[in-house]
């Protein structure tokens, strides 16, 4: 019998409970949908950027941001709260389940939550602005998947490393949210000073945005795919090592 990864199983049961609560749905989807309505309608078809309408620029960025937030939050909150507050992580840590299964479980769960949120945002974009706003190319979809993977793993690592529950809010407010603004989500980085632009371009979310806005493979997309893949591998190994040596 093939059995589902136990960590994923648990996260899906918890997610099912949570999505039934309206507040939870609201808090995870309110921001991307608000941006979509406000900027999409406000600036939408009037403003042109990079030879396309602003909506066609904005929607891929919003999807990358949604993927980042949702995948990161799932594992960071579940692991961080579980370790430090409800202490539901400890039974998992002292069970014989392999440390690879733990990493994989949070990776899958983060990807699934990212996919659910992105599907809803994409559906809203489709209804409001038509299918031309959606990034449906192969590099875009690969980029989305890598974004979810990277942030799910980064969330797991953050959840394992934090010493205090406040740290989750600190990471979200000082790293995750600013990254959304300075990675070309809402506006291109072209107008920034070259040095700043080049360093911001290295952020994982910048790579994600680049991929989500490309229609075909090029050396640029290939580079971004490699960077994101390497980041995923590093995070995976770091999370695994940390779990292996975990102690309180």
């Amino acid at each position: 019998m093939v059995s589902i990864n136990p960590i994923l199983h648990r996260e899906m049961l918890l997610l099912r409970k949570k999505t039934l609560r309206l507040g939870y749905l609201f808090s995870t989807l309110l921001f991307p949908l608000l941006y979509l309505f406000a900027f999409g309608w406000g600036l939408g078809s009037k403003v042109h950027l990079n030879g396309t309408t602003y909506v066609n620029f904005l929607v891929p960025g919003l999807l990358a941001m949604t993927a980042m937030n949702n995948s990161f939050n799932l594992s960071a909150a579940s692991v961080g709260m579980g370790r430090l507050f409800s202490r539901t992580m400890q039974p998992i840590l002292i069970s014989p389940v392999s440390r690879f299964s733990i990493v994989n479980g949070y990776l899958y769960a983060g990807i699934i939550r990212g996919m659910i949120a992105c599907t809803i945002v994409a559906a809203a974009a489709l209804l409001l602005f038509g299918s031309s706003s959606l990034p449906l190319s192969l590099p875009a979809l690969a980029g989305l998947l890598l974004t979810m993977s990277f942030f799910a793993l980064a969330g797991l690592l953050a959840g394992l490393l934090i010493k205090d529950l406040e740290d989750i809010a600190v990471i979200t407010n000082f790293i995750i949210m600013p990254m959304a603004f300075f990675s070309g989500t809402f506006f291109p980085l072209d107008n920034m000073p070259a040095a700043l632009r080049n360093s911001l371009g290295l952020l994982p979310l910048s790579q994600a945005n680049l991929l989500l806005r490309s229609h075909t493979f090029s050396s640029g997309t290939l580079y971004a795919l490699i960077v994101l893949s390497l980041l995923c591998i590093c995070c995976y190994l770091a999370a695994y090592t940390h779990l292996h040596h975990y102690q309180e």
């Binding site: 059995s3 049961l13 202490r87 039974p91 002292i94």
Partner: protein, 274 residues
Amino acid sequence: MIKVQNLVKRYGSKCAVDNLGLEVQPGEIFGLLGPNGAGKTTTIRMLTTLCKPDSGTIEIAGHDLRIKRDAVRRLIGVVPQERNLDLELTVQDNLMVYAGLYQLDKRRQRVDACLDLFGLAAERMTQADKLSGGMQRRLLIARALLSQPQILFLDEPTIGLDPQIRRGIWDSIATLRNEGVTIVLTTHYMDEAAVLCNRIGLLSNGRLRMTDTPGNLQISAGSFMVEAPDSNGIKRTLCPDREQAEMVAALLPGALIRPANLEDAFIALTGQEL
């Protein structure tokens, strides 16, 4: 079954567990008795692979814990001090998730059997946060036993429960011993230790002061207690036999003689209140 030598765990300058050594025989209930902050939870955490000792060795069922952590994890069940259930999930889902973590065969049957055994069958679809404190505690024990462990660790299993519910949990623990499960439990209730344990280790300030059967611990401290009111409250004197107790009581106005209990022994042997 369990062999611990020179176990040390420090938090900063504080020595939570100080050079602790103990041996637990197969099939016995071993109790760690000590007041809050004695180092009971820290000891259990080290024995259950959650926390690594600063020094010392732990051997469980022949496995060195430094090397064979996963082998040990398969053999043990743990009931932690805190009620760390998945409160948003149903009773049944709590157990099903656990069955997955331990890769058990015939999960559904195991879970059903456990629910029946702990009188939780009627609550299987109840969300865990809707259960009473006693039921949550039973679910924690049921969860720990799902994988049919050879060794069960219970950290303060009846803390904060009503007397009647405590008795029910004592019965469950005693039944397990009869089935051959080796049990290590911690408590700061002397009655619990006296009723359940084959042997007791007295723990205070991270040190194991003495290990013996409840009966021997009591005898070594004195069998009779003389209590007499004095200017500072009550003056207590432990006496080895009735004759001496009566001699002491004769000198103290208003003195009462009663059989000594484990708590008296603890105070006499460690100089600390329970």
